[in-house]
């Protein structure tokens, strides 16, 4: 899928760029699943108060997230566009307080059941928005750390149950001797959701329960 075109009118000096790298003991498909699973956001992360999925297919998702801005306690609704650019890359484009941002997350397997994530944030600051540069520079790594810590047990647990041959919407195999899977863990998009999901169903989501 072609990457979207954002921030082309922002001078380079007004672009705030932040790079964060992390390693985790789960495979890339599990880490990627965590990004695409939008339904956990307002249950697991106190920073999110609501999520509505407007549209999704195997390459992209448009959602509205209600986010509580740390320190200020202000709630804002943010339209978020997520795109699976290639097998290893997700690009998220958003607008908050009129500020355009692009987050590129690259996830690569390093060895079996281990991967490395490279998160690249870009904020395109035009006009008055430039004054927010130092604040965002300070805030974003803290936000990233908070969300990372909150998501960490999900990814590690998901990895564990997938190795126990867990099947979505079914669970573990009935017999203990069948609870073992050593093959490649794959991610299938869009993430299956119930048609009656409170986050909204879409005709593009093929899952029927």
């Amino acid at each position: 899928m072609a990457e979207n075109f954002v921030g082309h009118n922002t001078p380079k000096k007004n672009i705030l760029e932040i790079d964060i790298r992390r390693k985790i003991a789960c495979c890339a498909a599990v880490a990627m699943w965590n990004y695409w699973d939008q339904e956990h956001l307002d249950v697991v992360h106190p920073g999110y108060t609501n999520v509505e999925i407007i549209y999704e297919n195997k390459e992209c998702m448009l959602s509205f997230r209600d986010v509580e801005i740390p320190l200020f306690g202000i709630k804002v609704t943010t339209p978020i566009m997520m795109q699976q650019i290639d097998e290893e890359t997700i690009v998220t484009t958003a607008v908050q307080f009129g500020i355009k941002s692009k987050t590129t997350v690259t996830i690569k397997d390093t060895k079996k059941d281990n991967c490395e994530l490279h998160m690249n944030y870009k904020f395109y600051l035009n006009g008055w928005q430039k004054i927010l540069k130092p604040l965002l520079k300070n805030l974003i790594p803290k936000w990233n750390e908070t969300v990372w810590v909150e998501d960490l047990p999900l990814k590690l647990r998901r990895q564990k149950v997938m190795r126990y041959n867990f099947k979505d919407f079914y669970g573990l195999p009935d017999k203990i001797e069948d609870r073992n899977y050593e093959g490649k863990i794959k991610l299938s998009l869009p993430i299956p959701r119930l048609k009656i999901s409170p986050r909204g169903g879409t005709p593009e989501n093929p899952f029927k329960y």
């Binding site: 647990r157 669970g171 573990l172």
Partner: protein, 121 residues
């Protein structure tokens, strides 16, 4: 003839009085179990792996139901059946061991005030 039992220590019975539930990985069974006392003070044991995406199930002592920490799916504390509309998935129950003497099914035993989950081998 009664079958041999495989038993796993879960927690001390007294600790179930203090905490509303216990969750413990049982690696030998490749599962995680939740143990709690229902509103009739009866010990209940289910798999605490949510059949949706594998999230952790916890017991809501106020609402007397089970729910997933990841996506808030809810389950009956009596049967393990999912209570979200039209969802067929259940929490896994164990193959109950059968007390032939009393013709009663059970999936735990208490020894010296310790609670053990049991499966027939």
């Amino acid at each position: 003839m009664e079958k041999e039992l495989n038993k796993m220590f879960i927690c001390n019975n007294e600790s179930l009085e203090k905490d509303s539930y216990k969750v413990i990985w049982v690696d030998n069974w490749k599962d995680e179990l939740i143990v709690f006392k229902n509103n009739q003070n009866k010990i209940k044991i289910f798999s605490s792996i949510c059949p949706h995406f594998g999230g952790e199930i916890i017991y809501d002592d106020k609402k007397k139901n089970l729910k997933c920490k990841w996506h808030d799916w809810k389950f009956s504390a009596e049967t393990g059946k999912c209570s979200n509309d039209k969802i067929l998935a259940n929490l896994k129950k164990y193959d109950f061991a059968t007390d032939q003497k009393n013709l009663k099914n059970y999936n735990y035993i208490i020894e010296n005030d310790d609670v053990f989950a049991v499966r027939e081998i």
